[in-house]
């Protein structure tokens, strides 16, 4: 086993080395916002996708982090003015303004940006996601599980109130509402399931995520959906502690991951599913487009149909277990127990619920179900008014 692994490692290294020597012809840069690496989610995925594409298409990749928001524009300028980079990928909406300025100043430089659709230019590829579609699936799952187990609420801990997060919230609300209706349709009784949601105002303070989750769990939330990158670590911690105090090891309450497939986190014990937003796919596609000469400016929207978002499945788990190993968060030896725990946890949710979630997914894919979304505060208010979910 060990020897096999060794051979494998040498092989991979050898191939990548050969690949670099053989193919290296340009450079791509990936610029991250202040959140930085290590979130096992958004930023790490941006890195992962760019890195993978750089390997596949023979680019040298440079990763640039920003210590403060005042570094965004200087960093973009620093990279752009070298003129050496075929593409600069900005991971995250926070970089939007800086990108707008830099793209104007360096019209020859190609840029791609994740999550920003409102700043456009002839040299900017905007990659946006229909997060509402994935969130709807997670919301439906949560609502059905709450109804099944008699919980009062499903919870979501969000970051800063920005359009991207409105997508999540809108989809989640719709999904919960759909789940309640589905349950009524199947069981004949309308369950009393509401939504608990908190905008923590941060994408970095993990303690705030934990605190918000603890409050929701105390009120009887069946699951905490993490929609704030690294705060999920705190959310999951709260869920785990809740189980420890209750003396349970699996079953509700659950944790819902975000962006990446976070199902493997916490040894797979409590993460039921993740509302995936494949930032890596977006980054990969951008590099690929540059490599293949098909780079086009303008907005590309990725949804369920494009494989840009989705609810986590078994095959995603395996892929992201690799991701976790790569990040050094887990080792190969942890994998069997993670898979076992995850499967066991999934089995606590009856099969008909999973079927219902699949039904919703199919409906969205064939266009028979349209998930609402929101880009501004007013639109969000409208969605909130339509799907009040227990709130006045």
């Amino acid at each position: 086993m060990k020897r096999l692994l060794g051979v494998l490692v040498i092989l991979v290294l050898g191939i990548s080395l050969v690949g670099m020597i053989g193919l290296a012809e340009g450079k791509v840069a990936v610029v991250l916002d202040v959140g930085g690496r290590g979130d096992l989610s958004f930023n790490d995925m941006g890195f992962k996708g760019t890195d993978q594409a750089a390997r596949d298409f023979g680019y040298e990749m440079v990763e640039i982090q920003c210590a403060t928001a005042a570094d965004y524009l200087p960093n973009l300028r620093n990279v752009a003015r070298t003129g050496e980079f075929d593409l600069i990928i900005c991971v995250g909406f926070l970089l939007g303004d800086a990108l707008g300025t830099a793209a104007e100043e360096f019209p020859e430089q190609k840029f791609a940006i994740i999550d920003v659709g409102w700043i456009t230019g002839p040299n900017i590829m905007n990659i946006v996601y229909r997060e509402n579609e994935a969130s709807a699936l997670v919301g439906a799952l949560g609502a059905l599980a709450a109804a099944e187990y008699g919980y009062d609420y499903v919870g979501v801990v969000l970051g800063i109130e920005i359009p991207v997060l409105y997508h999540f919230e809108a989809g989640y609300r719709f999904g919960i509402d759909w789940g309640i209706k589905k349950y009524t349709e199947v069981k004949g009784t309308t369950p009393d399931v509401g939504l608990l949601y908190t905008y923590t105002g941060t994408f970095s303070d993990i303690t705030l995520g934990k605190a918000a989750s603890e409050a929701m769990l105390a009120q009887g939330a069946v699951a905490i959906y993490n929609v704030a990158g690294p705060l999920g670590i705190g959310d999951l911690e709260a869920v785990t502690e809740f189980h420890d105090n209750a003396g349970t090891t699996f079953g509700p309450p659950y944790f819902f991951g975000v962006d990446a497939n976070q199902d493997w986190m916490g040894n797979g014990l409590h993460a039921l599913a993740s509302g995936m937003k494949r930032v890596d796919t977006g980054c990969y596609n951008a590099v690929k487009a540059v490599a293949e000469g098909t780079f086009t400016a303008g907005v590309t929207s990725l949804g369920l149909a494009e494989g840009g978002v989705g609810i986590s499945k078994m095959r995603d788990l395996i892929e992201f277990v690799d991701f976790g190993i790569g990040a050094g968060a887990i080792t190969l030896l942890d994998v069997p127990s993670i898979v076992y725990n995850w499967v066991r946890n999934r089995l606590t949710v009856p099969g008909w619920i999973w079927d219902a979630v699949d039904e919703l997914e199919a409906g969205i894919l064939d266009g028979s179900i349209v998930v609402p979304t929101a880009d501004t505060g007013n639109e969000m208010a409208a969605v909130r008014a339509e799907y009040t979910l227990g709130a006045p």
Partner: protein
Amino acid sequence: MSSEVTKSSSRLWRATGRTLTGLNPALESVLAGVVGLLAGALLMWIWGYDPWKAYMAMFRGAYGDSYGLASSAARGAPLILTALTFSICVRAGMFNIGAEGQLYMGAIAAVTIGYFTLPSGLHITAGIIFAMIAGAVWSLVPAILKLTRGVHEVISTIMFNWIARFLAFYMVAFILVDPMRGEKTISIPMNARFPILVRGTDLSYSLFAAVLFAIVIYFILWHTTMGYEVRASGFNPKAARYGGIKSKRTMLTSFILGGLAAGLAGATVVMGNPPTYAVISGLPQLMNVGFDGMAVAMVGRNHPIGIIIAALFFGGLTAGGRVMQFYGSNPVPLEMVRIVMGAIVLAMSIPELFRIFPAIKKQGTELFSLLRRLTSRVSHKEGSA
């Protein structure tokens, strides 16, 4: 035997201390800087980065061309001001840790001018004045707490930093929020921004505001009776009192001056830093500017002119540090860049830290006894309950 060893080592220590204190301050700083660079080089070498290439990248990024110089200066401008906040109070014998919170308040106040329309010269002046007043008001509360209730300024300013932080979070998220963009406040209108000084860089006229303010502070401290009284109380409060100086007034003065500086720093960040010209939720462009100022103050020997130089140096470290991340064949990750910067700044702060050590010690004992009194009061209450 062991006492011999301690004796000779203490003698060596003292001798070193004498030699070092005898050094010309500029030479001392350079020496300390070299020690810091060496320490940083050692760290990079241990983790397998080429220190020489990395430092070359840093130097070129910071001072290699006009773009680098401008980037360094842009980053240094607000630091000049937050360093002044700390230094003025050190000169008055106090430790004002509150620049961070006062800076937030200044930035928030500056944003509010986005709701008015004024002619361009007036508009920018209004922003500056708003911000400075907000900073001063925020620093006034700990000052008054100290004067009337004896609350130690280290504790109160730290507490006020937190209050300011969450207050700013709230203001950004709910009051001043850009209706189109939830993650930030409204932007400062065009004619209330500090004009860009060097095209294609971050450097705006805010640098002049900062330098001018530092020079004004220099004149106040060294050439007016007000500054005379502040410095006298700082060096020797007893003698100051003997000299008819009212310590309460000098405390208040230095807190207000410090608050004005920090408030102005907040204005320079939001009104002078492209591209957003707004406060972003979570304050990512304001975070630590106040605390970094304390390090700048140390490196700059708590002297306004020294601070200007130190801030440009500090800005250079940041600007150069960015370049270290992707320069040539030896990219150094940001984490390592920050460790190296930390080593350099620490080394350069040490001489001044030693110089004001008696002051620090005094603060320490005061704080300690305060904490002790608090805990004993609590335990007594518990006992009686």
